[in-house]
């Protein structure tokens, strides 16, 4: 496939079109800077959880007003992240019911064509009072979320309750990991650009990229998502990607607690809505190299206990199917998941052991 080898170079130019001074500076100054930070932000905009959280105040419009104030805080945070360092990368995903969408990315290879609203943003007149790059991000995120809200409401009318169970968070995480994978890969090998003879110097310098994912979570766990979620976590762990979680409201999610614990990120539960901006700025803005020096909020105990597949009961000592690794709280003759039958001798042995213990 000869085409893609040329495509990245081309789209880099497109991406940097508005601020070519940045692009040149980035390539020349990169060797001295040792850490560039790529941040992936995943915003949970699941309408159900937003609505249910603010329904207490009995005003329908209050949820949307809350969402808007949260978005304001997020945009300030994103702008701050971009302003920290010229080379800082950024990708924003919105996750809703059953779908996740890329709203904005600075990844050089990504196509800018149909990302939520960014095309309109470029067309609009430049505003002398705002930094153009900030404006791109803001427009892309706001319009993307609006578009997504429309799509979700349309979808609700067409197929009700078919996709309701799945949440977009895992899809967003997996997409983010794919993008980060491609990003680190083009950094390390750089084969594509070096083959076409373009600026080999920038490639070696870029490989020190550190990346992290920040999830602004609003929705509680869905047990059907356990396996894909864990796979994402292990994928991130293997790639050395941190997962930070900021729980905006609602119950703690055990899955995301595990995600941040296993990848070395931090999990923070927001007690007060108004504190969002401060939390984002103080806990999640510092780059990974600085984080080592900070005492970030982390949870002491993570619930790693296992729940049985039969009653969802937390077990200390469980019985595991050797074929599918399903976990049961008591010996049973047949697996609930894969229908394997277990040998009689094993069952008898367990029964005897249990009797002995009772005596």
């Amino acid at each position: 496939m000869p085409e893609p080898s040329k495509a990245p170079a081309k789209s880099t130019d497109v991406a940097n079109a508005g601020f070519s001074h940045l692009a040149t500076k980035a390539s020349s100054g990169q060797a001295s800077k040792n850490s560039t930070d790529f941040l992936v932000l995943i915003i949970d905009v699941n309408p159900l959880s937003w609505a249910s959280n603010f329904s207490l105040s009995s005003q329908a419009s209050i949820a949307s007003r809350e969402l808007e104030s949260v978005l304001d805080a997020i945009l300030i945070f994103l702008n701050a992240h971009i302003a920290m360092q010229h080379e800082n990368g950024l990708a924003v995903y919105a996750a809703s019911l059953g779908l996740a969408k890329l709203l904005f990315t600075t990844a050089p290879f990504a196509s800018k064509g149909d990302l939520g609203g960014s095309s309109e943003a470029i067309k609009s007149k430049p505003d002398a009072n705002t930094y153009q790059h900030f404006r791109h991000v803001d427009n892309a995120v706001l319009q993307g979320i609006r578009k997504m809200a429309r799509e979700v409401s349309e979808k609700d009318q067409t197929d009700t309750a078919s996709n309701q169970a799945t949440l977009g968070i895992v899809s967003a995480m997996s997409q983010a990991l794919c993008q980060l994978n491609r990003l680190t890969m083009t950094d390390q090998t750089g084969s594509e650009q070096s083959l076409s003879g373009k600026t080999p110097g920038t490639l070696a310098a870029k490989s020190s990229m550190s990346s992290r994912i920040l999830i602004l979570s609003a929705t509680p766990d869905a047990s059907t998502q356990y396996i894909p979620m864990m796979n994402c976590i292990f994928g991130a762990q293997k790639k050395g990607i941190l997962i930070d979680v900021c729980k905006m409201f609602g119950d703690d999610t055990v899955f995301l607690q595990q995600a941040s614990h296993l990848t070395g990120g931090s999990y923070f539960r927001l007690d007060e809505q108004l504190g969002l901006l401060q939390t984002l700025m103080s806990a999640y803005l510092p780059s990974r190299s600085i984080r080592e020096l900070l005492n970030l909020p982390n949870q002491d105990e993570v619930d790693f206990r296992a729940a049985c597949f039969c009653h969802r009961k937390i077990v200390d000592i469980g019985y595991v199917c050797s074929v599918c690794l399903s976990l049961f709280c008591e010996p049973r003759p047949q697996c609930l998941t894969c229908k394997s039958k277990y040998p009689q001798s094993t069952l008898e042995r367990f029964a005897q052991e249990n009797q002995n213990r009772i005596k």
Partner: protein, 508 residues
């Protein structure tokens, strides 16, 4: 050994080959093929030597016609036709090899991706003995820097990767030299112990003759007592062509068969009948490493847990009737304990495994003793102690992502998304269909259009498997479609999702 100059010579003689190709040949898998032949002369069997040197001579000669008459007896790899890898590389119109080389690299990626995804029962709870030849033949320098160093390096990588892919598996390492077998690392689940044992080069200094039988017997002794639900395997890395055994090795093979221990081997020298026989009779695989890269591939092929149907098939051959009604072999219910994790700042106590004073640790829920690391078997009461995450790490073997199919050009229209679903890289435009495909408006709509589109995409993708893709499995349109969700992905994401992530971004 033919001097390194030999193939340089050959390339040099053929003036049509441009410079980049020489580089390429050096890295290529089969480019160094005659190096395998080196141990043969030491066999002291003139017949073999004559046979072996023939293909090399032919390859070295300037004669460009194919070597003939070697294909009919394909029993040994050195007797097979000499494959000239550079015949597969063709220049494009501009005389550049970039396209051809890229095609090969991509093809390799795809091949790895297309590996088994059929839902089979797998022996997730693995016990494996890594058997390393430490005889003087391991000092041979046909692999750089030498066989011994390379083996240790790959063994370390193998151990790390093994525990990553088999979190509740266990491993032990056995070496053989001077006619005896010695245990290098105990059966256990601790990566650090194993890697540090393999790092101690001075202690592992190769010398003398190996003993295959002694080594197999020692490995067997640490596997035979395990319950039937555990898969029992031996992986041997063997550099020697000889073995110095105290008894009849066929008796050992019989007992291995009886204990259902699967033996796989990677030979660094050549195919040896008895080595191959051990593997085939016990249901394992045997391979001869061609060069450094191939050696690594041979080892790493054995990383995913083996399918359980091996022993089952054997049992079925003897007694079909019984098998159908009763329990399938290898299926069992296992008792496992999920420990309480003690934080690092808790009061230090002695651990049951090393008798060290430590704050952090895990408490066995049955007997209350403290262990340093999980997964392990409780040293006091013997129960298997695991964390729920260890079980979760294995789930991707059981529920793999189905293979994605290559999409042909005819299946790509304005409705198809112009970029990769997961990494957003733009796909190449359809030839002769120029700017229409880039119109984001039409393309963006498609993606979330619900079931109708994805069903159409599914059927489209299915049809395209037969017609559009070439034999390498690469898609002409650079698109790969998930049959479940119908989204299109790039090759890079295809490889990443199937090898690392194990989640389809569109399906969840």
């Amino acid at each position: 050994m033919p001097p390194r100059g030999a193939d340089d010579d050959y390339v040099g003689e053929n003036e049509a080959i441009p410079e980049e190709e020489e580089d390429f040949l050096d890295d290529d898998d089969s480019g160094d093929e005659f190096q395998n032949l080196t141990p043969l002369p030491r066999l002291g069997r003139p017949g073999l030597r004559a046979k072996a040197s023939a293909p090399a001579a032919q390859a070295k000669g300037k004669d460009s016609t194919k070597p003939k008459g070697k294909a009919k007896d394909a029993g040994y790899s050195w007797e097979a036709t000499y494959k000239r890898s550079w015949d597969n590389v063709h220049e494009d119109e501009s005389g550049s090899l970039e396209g051809a080389v890229r095609q090969m690299i991509d093809g390799n990626k795809r091949k790895r991706v297309m590996r088994d995804v059929a839902p089979v029962q797998r022996g997730i709870i693995r016990h494996l003995v890594l058997l390393i030849d430490l005889s003087s033949s391991m000092l041979e320098k046909d692999m750089r820097p030498n066989r011994f160093e390379l083996t240790l390096q790959y063994a370390k990588e193998f151990v790390n990767e093994y525990f990553d892919q088999n979190p509740i598996g266990q491993l032990s390492i056995v070496g053989t030299r001077e006619g005896i077998a010695e245990r290098i690392a105990q059966m256990g689940g601790n990566t650090i112990d194993h890697v540090s044992a393999l790092s101690n080069k001075r202690k592992l200094e190769p010398r003398g003759e190996p003993s295959l039988q002694n080594a197999l017997e020692m490995a067997r002794s640490s596997l035979a007592h395990l319950p039937a639900s555990n898969s029992r395997e031996i992986l041997a890395i063997f550099g020697s062509l000889t073995t110095c055994d105290p008894g009849n090795i066929h008796d050992t093979i019989a007992t291995l068969q009886k204990d259902q221990i699967r033996v796989s081997m990677v030979s660094l020298a050549a195919e040896v009948k008895i080595l191959k026989e051990v593997c085939t009779k016990t249901g394992g695989s045997f391979s001869v490493a061609l060069n450094e890269g191939h050696f690594r591939d041979c080892l790493f092929e054995l990383l995913p847990p083996p399918a359980v149907e091996g022993p089952k098939r054997k049992a079925g051959g003897q007694a079909d009737g019984i098998e159908a009604s009763s329990v399938v072999q290898g299926v069992d219910l296992l008792q496992m304990a999920f420990p309480l994790r003690l934080p690092a700042h808790s009061e230090p106590t002695l651990c049951a495994c090393h008798s060290k004073l430590k704050g952090s640790g895990y408490l066995c829920p049955r007997c209350g003793s403290k262990v340093c690391d999980v997964p392990t078997d409780c040293p006091v009461c013997g129960i298997t102690i695991v964390m729920s995450t260890h079980l979760a790490r294995s789930y991707h073997h059981l529920f793999p992502v189905s293979n994605w199919v290559a999409v042909g050009w005819e299946k790509v229209d304005e409705k198809s998304c112009p970029r990769c679903f997961s990494c957003a890289i733009p796909f190449p435009e359809k030839p002769g269909h120029a700017n229409a495909a880039m119109n984001g408006a039409a393309a963006g709509k498609n993606k979330f259009n619900g079931t109708a589109t994805s069903a159409a995409a599914t059927s489209a993708a299915k049809k395209s498997t037969g017609a559009a893709k070439d034999d390498s499995g690469l898609a002409p349109s650079s698109r790969y479609a998930c049959l479940k969700c119908g989204n299109h992905f790039c090759l890079e994401c295809d490889a990443f999702v199937h090898e690392n992530l194990h989640v389809c971004p569109g399906c969840c």
